[in-house]
């Protein structure tokens, strides 16, 4: 099995008829994802991608007609917050937002609304989710990963690809890979994903890819101590990044010394997480777990 997405996923693509939406929907269809609808206001009634996907004017209509239960958003940044709220309003329970550059104050409002609804928002600024061999809701290239038992969760985009590719070259497959997004305000954090992996029977090991900024890795460390039995391997990007690039004093007051690579690595180590020094270390750490 996989987490968040599977063969039951019925996906609606918001922003299907734009360049990005069209390109990546073609890729997702080729991978095997069950795409039931697209939404572009004003273009309802069309069939696109060689007549494979019907377009609706609203997410509500797409859900009513096709029974869509998940959405992916490629809508441009100025309209993307609205697209998330529209999906939530239509009772979609998994919303994956690929769009990068949504104004942060809009995201504060979106998260405030989403937190009170029964839905899971992944992103924004996320590469999406891939569950080999057949389901991908996002833009992660399908050929860089294979089916397996390692769960991957990451705040990055291309660094996630790098890790999946390194795993595949070492013959290691993935149960599900989730990119939670690189923006300051996101819908789902490490902890929720770790919890899903803990409950997922296929996942045996989890790779957590963090980066400097925020406190998500520190919180994940506490969660791992309290609630995880499966082994976790961590990599934190940004150890060589300068520490003097930040906003005013207010940010430092909030973070209070957390947020640095050092703080994150220390917290994870205290939680028993094996730390990779660089991405190519990860397969060795996985093999060393399995040999015990």
């Amino acid at each position: 099995m996989s987490i968040l997405v599977n063969q039951e996923t019925r996906l609606v693509v918001q922003g299907l008829t734009g360049n990005e939406g069209r390109f990546h929907t073609t890729q997702m269809l080729a991978y095997g994802t069950n795409i039931v609808a697209g939404v572009t206001p004003g273009r309802g009634g069309e069939w696109v991608l060689n007549g494979k996907v019907p377009v609706f004017d609203s997410v509500h209509m797409a859900v009513d007609v096709t029974g869509a239960n998940a959405s992916i958003i490629f809508v441009p940044a100025p309209f993307a917050a609205d697209a998330i709220l529209e999906a939530a309003d239509a009772s979609i329970n998994l919303i994956v937002c690929i769009t990068e550059g949504i104004p942060v104050q809009e995201m504060l409002q979106v998260r405030r609304v989403i937190d009170n609804q029964n839905c899971c928002l992944i992103g924004p600024n996320s590469p999406g989710i891939i569950a080999p061999p057949l389901t991908k809701v996002g833009i992660i290239p399908g050929n860089i990963t294979q089916q397996g038992s390692v769960g991957v969760v990451s705040r990055s985009g291309t660094l996630t690809y790098e890790v999946l590719y390194i795993l595949k070259q070492a013959g290691i497959g993935t149960s599900t890979c989730v990119g939670i997004g690189g923006d300051p305000i996101i819908g789902t954090h490490f902890n929720e994903i770790l919890s899903h992996f803990e409950d997922d029977s296929t996942t045996e090991v989890i790779v957590l890819i963090g980066e400097i900024g925020g406190q998500d890795e520190e919180k994940a460390s506490a969660f791992i101590i309290d609630s995880m039995t499966k082994p976790v391997i961590g990599f934190i990007a940004g150890q060589a990044a300068p520490s003097d690039k930040r906003m005013g004093h207010a940010g430092a007051i909030i973070e209070g010394g957390m947020g640095t690579a050092k703080s994150k690595i220390e917290a994870l180590k205290n939680a028993g997480v094996k730390i990779a020094r660089y991405p190519e270390d990860i397969p060795h750490l996985i093999h060393s777990l399995q040999s015990h």
């Binding site: 990005e20 940044a77 100025p78 990068e100 550059g101 949504i102 104004p103 942060v104 104050q105 809009e106 504060l108 409002q109 998260r111 405030r112 609304v113 937190d115 590469p127 833009i139 992660i140 290239p141 860089i144 990451s154 705040r155 990055s156 985009g157 291309t158 660094l159 690809y161 790098e162 590719y165 390194i166 300051p184 305000i185 890819i209 980066e211 400097i212 925020g214 406190q215 998500d216 919180k219 990599f235 990007a237 940004g238 150890q239 060589a240 990044a241 300068p242 906003m247 005013g248 004093h249 207010a250 940010g251 430092a252 007051i253 909030i254 209070g256 020094r277 660089y278 991405p279 190519e280």
Partner: protein, 380 residues
């Protein structure tokens, strides 16, 4: 986008937050003239977007217009943390009885804006946060409700403001939150917000950071960007939608994606080298964008070798290869390159670069090792 103190104060004044009287001067004569107009002691403040400006001699208190002219001559043209001082804010010196700290910023963990206040303003607030966190009061603002009066009033009582000032403090907090919200700011910080000897609040300093992602709906604010206050290569990078940060090492890095760019820097450091920069070309970069990125890296005299690490997804390796080829046709350089291309259109990219006799690598580790090797060897 960070605003200068004088720009921030203009916004405060527009939102009925009192600021000292004063104007900008770009010559010592202007400073003298403004000091004459203000008719009393004045403060000269260098308008540079770096911290620690006071310690670096960028703030001077003077008593007479003549002194203002002399001191302005010393500060103008000075460099503070490598940024030339081109303008001074000349302001009336304000006597005050108390300094407080006032801040509004985003707390990403709570997913809220925080109002942060402290009775211990003026001095090093980060030090207070570390040593006496109880002296800092913070309250989360619901993004749908905005700042409520009672929250600002609670802040006023927490920092033990006299009762007769509560109403005014609530108004100022509301006005600043309104500015923060309508301008799509990510930070408003006033340190110090003083209580003058006449029992008035006044913002003696001010920092505003605007959300770059929201500038599309504030075309009037885009013009406020002061490109003279930043390094020219950063201006150039932004023009092409690149994220570039200059660092102190000698290995120029060109990478797609911030996380991968950081991981590339990390492995360089791990292998004993030092990165010359952080450079993220973003997703789906065109060959022109790649060429611009490479020109910026090669213009850095410290760069002795270049590492290009591309993991194609939305970004196409052939597009990147074209950008590299174009740049190398335009700029003759002896700088050794190490190129690692993987992912979308990798084969096409490698064909484009096959005549360029550039070193290639198949993995991140191999690329980093080769680049570090290059960086340690003297250029032939």
């Amino acid at each position: 986008m960070r605003l200068h103190e004088y720009q921030s104060k203009k916004i405060f004044a527009d939102h009925q937050v009192p600021v000292p009287r004063g104007r900008l001067a770009s010559t010592p004569e202007e400073a003298k003239l403004i000091a004459e107009e203000l008719d009393g002691p004045v403060v000269l403040k260098a308008q540079v977007l770096v911290g620690g400006r006071g310690k670096a001699g960028g703030i001077r208190l003077v008593r007479t217009p003549g002194e203002a002219e002399n001191e302005a001559a010393k500060v103008l043209g000075k460099r503070i943390k490598d940024i030339p001082v081109r303008r001074l804010l000349v302001e009336e010196a304000v006597s005050f009885q108390h300094e407080i700290y006032f801040g509004l910023t985003i707390d990403r963990e709570r997913g809220q804006t925080l109002l942060i206040v402290s009775a211990e303003g003026g001095i090093d607030i980060e030090e207070i946060a570390r040593t006496s966190p109880e002296k800092i009061f913070r309250v989360g603002i619901d993004p749908l409700l905005g700042l409520r009066d009672f929250q600002a009033r609670n802040a006023a009582t927490e920092i033990e403001l006299p009762r007769q000032l509560w109403r005014r403090f609530v108004n100022i907090s509301q006005n600043l939150y309104h500015a923060y919200h309508t301008l799509d700011a990510t930070l408003i910080e006033i340190n110090p917000l003083v209580i003058t000897t006449h029992n008035q609040f006044m913002a003696l300093d001010g920092k505003i950071t605007l959300d770059d992602n929201a500038l599309f709906r504030h075309p009037d604010l885009v013009d406020k960007r002061d490109i003279s206050a930043e390094a020219p290569e950063e201006t150039e990078a932004r023009k092409f939608g690149l994220t570039y940060i200059k660092l102190s090492g000698n290995i120029g890095c060109l990478v797609n994606g911030a996380g991968l760019a950081m991981a590339t820097m990390d492995i360089i450091q791990h292998k004993g080298g030092t990165p010359a920069n952080f450079l993220d070309i973003g997703g789906g970069a065109s060959s022109e964008k790649v060429a611009a990125a490479l020109r910026i890296i090669l213009a850095d005299p410290q760069v002795e070798t270049v590492l290009i690490n591309i993991f194609g997804g939305i970004t196409r390796c052939d597009e990147v290869a074209l950008g590299i080829k174009q740049t190398l046709a335009d700029i003759r350089t002896n700088t050794p390159f190490v190129i690692r291309l993987v992912g979308t259109n990798e084969a096409e990219g490698k064909i484009i670069l096959s005549e360029s006799r550039l070193a290639s690598a198949n993995s991140l580790q191999e690329a980093a090792e080769k680049a570090v090797q290059n960086s340690l060897e003297p250029v032939p």
